[in-house]
């Protein structure tokens, strides 16, 4: 395999860009669904009624994190088969964990006396949750979201393996045809996308956090 600059430029300018949108979808859709599941789940698990399950669920989450991303897709292959939708589902499952974990950690990190005071002043359980617990744990939740985003951006490349499209198609084409320029270009784009997402979320985070709590 040898590197050709013109072929690399060609890969960067023409071969890869058509896959950008696909790849962004492969990241944002699972991320959105994962957040929509993991965040409420984290909230539920910190409510008194369900708190006793927190330990068990946490350990499942932690164990889930240790399974390599490729294994997640491979594991679900028998049930979901091939294609775009199975890839989305596998990616969603993989993105769940950091968000749920950070939601739990964030909510657990809200000082007891602050919740106690809020309740003692006569805030309803819902008001304490929405006006005190969620705002105070949001920085931690968003950092989980960032972890998930970066993780999913990378893992989504594997979707191409099961026919799920995305930037992975460029990379695997490069691998199959011994074209290092394609591999490099695809990887570069994924890196840029991950970085952009991270920045975007950081910006969002800084907008909603009072200056002293960053």
């Amino acid at each position: 395999m040898n590197f050709g600059l013109d072929r690399f430029i060609e890969a960067m300018l023409y071969r890869s860009p058509p896959y950008i949108l696909e790849h962004v979808q492969l990241v944002l859709i699972p991320l959105g669904i994962a957040a929509a599941i993991a965040f409420p789940a984290g909230v539920l698990l910190t409510r008194p009624r369900f708190r006793r399950y927190t330990g068990r669920v946490m350990s499942v989450f932690n164990a889930g994190q240790t399974i390599p991303p490729l294994a997640v897709i491979a594991l679900f292959f028998p049930f979901l088969g091939l294609g775009y939708r199975p890839a989305l589902i596998a990616l969603t499952l993989y993105a769940l964990l950091p968000i749920a974990r950070n939601t739990l950690a964030g909510l657990a990190g809200v000082p007891f006396e602050v919740k106690e005071a809020a309740r003692g002043m006569g805030m309803t359980g819902w008001q304490v949750l929405t006006q005190v617990e969620v705002p105070l744990s949001l920085p931690v939740v968003i950092s989980g979201l960032k972890t998930s985003a970066v993780l999913t951006a990378g893992t989504a490349a594997l979707a191409a393996l099961v026919g799920g499209k995305g930037m992975g198609a460029v990379i695997f084409a490069g691998i199959n045809f011994f074209r290092v320029e394609l591999i490099l270009a695809g990887t570069l784009y994924i890196g840029i996308m991950a970085l952009c997402l991270d920045r975007l979320l950081s910006f969002f985070e800084s907008r909603i956090t009072p200056s002293h709590m960053k």
């Binding site: 006396e113 005071a117 309740r119 003692g120 006569g122 805030m123 309803t124 705002p135 009072p210 002293h212």
Partner: protein, 323 residues
């Protein structure tokens, strides 16, 4: 009025009850001070009264109504609560923190603004300066005072104050106590006040409840506690200067005997105190002027004299052998 009837709290996984079969009543307009060593259950009692903790057994009544019959959020909005660890909301300004309960009660904004300014002023914080700050920008003592202001905000008829002045310096604490007592004479709230400082208890309380290990040891007025402590625990709590503390609570006029205006001591007096001042002041004056008698004045009129011998006799009479 707050009534506790055989209230007991055993926390899960603990062997001994945090509060054990406690019964007492705090009458409307009274300040009841809970005093006792760390871990004796003071905070737990307070938290049971506003239903942050449910008693294991026994019942609590507020104005005759069992608190279990009242919606807990609504109950808490009419009970001011100063929590021991302050617990200001870190993501809200002091203005928002103090205005929390009025906002929950849907007061109009201009009324909230006026109330917040008034309260900050009262607890010795400059409204112009402090209102827009976040809690982390205040000192511990300032945060604590903001916590007191927050509890007072909606003018609740009942206050639960868990060591409200614990973090402020002695001078300011004295001022806040005086301000509190002055205000209390006007507004006549029903107040449960927690402290582990016996001097604060003696100063603030209409009644004092002495607790140890979750049990009531003695309940009485400051005078009753000082003159007849129930046991060695209460004696130790009060300290070795029981006699002096008694004299601090005794007004000079109460020791001036009817005929003492004619006693020869009055003529010799080189110094005077006001009739309403504590007898302790008389002692102070005696030491300062190196004399055995102090004249007692009411306004401009001399009404009698107190002598060292009389004070000594009084202490012996009221506290038995000691003094």
């Amino acid at each position: 009025m707050i009534q506790l009837e055989r209230v007991k709290k055993v926390f899960p996984n603990t062997a001994v009850p945090a509060v054990d079969e406690l019964s007492f009543t705090v009458e409307q307009g009274n300040v009841c001070v809970f005093v006792g060593p760390s871990g004796c259950g003071k905070t737990t009692i307070i938290r049971m009264i506003n239903r942050l903790v449910e008693p294991t057994s026994g019942s609590i009544f507020i104005d005759g109504e069992n608190i279990l019959q009242v919606d807990s959020d609504r109950l808490r909005r009419r009970i001011g609560y100063v929590i021991q660890q302050v617990g200001l909301l870190p993501h809200r300004t002091i203005e928002q923190n103090v205005g929390l309960v009025p906002r929950l009660l849907n007061w109009p904004e201009d009324r909230i603004a006026r109330r917040v300014a008034e309260l900050l002023e009262m607890v010795g914080l400059d409204p112009a300066e402090a209102a827009q700050k976040y809690p982390y920008q205040l000192s511990g003592g300032q945060m604590q005072r903001a916590g007191v202001a927050r509890a007072l905000a909606a003018d609740p008829p009942i206050m639960l104050m868990d060591e409200p002045f614990g973090a402020v310096d002695p001078i300011l604490r004295g001022r806040l106590q005086d301000e509190f007592l002055r205000l209390q004479r006007e507004v006549q709230k029903t107040i449960c006040f927690v402290t582990h400082d016996i001097n604060e208890a003696l100063k603030m309380g209409d009644y004092i409840v002495v607790l140890n290990a979750g049990k009531l040891v003695q309940k009485g007025t400051p005078m009753e506690l000082l003159s007849s402590p129930a046991n060695d625990f209460v004696k130790a709590l009060i300290g070795d200067d029981r006699g002096v503390k008694l004299l601090d609570l005794t007004r000079a006029e109460s020791l001036v005997a009817d005929g003492s205006i004619k006693s020869p001591a009055v003529k010799d007096c080189s110094c005077f105190i006001d009739a309403l001042q504590p007898v302790k002041m008389a002692l102070e004056q005696m030491m300062k002027h190196d004399t055995d008698s102090v004249g007692i004045r009411r306004g401009d009129e001399v009404i009698g004299a107190l002598t060292w011998a009389e004070i000594k006799k009084h202490i012996h009479r009221i506290s038995g052998d000691e003094g």
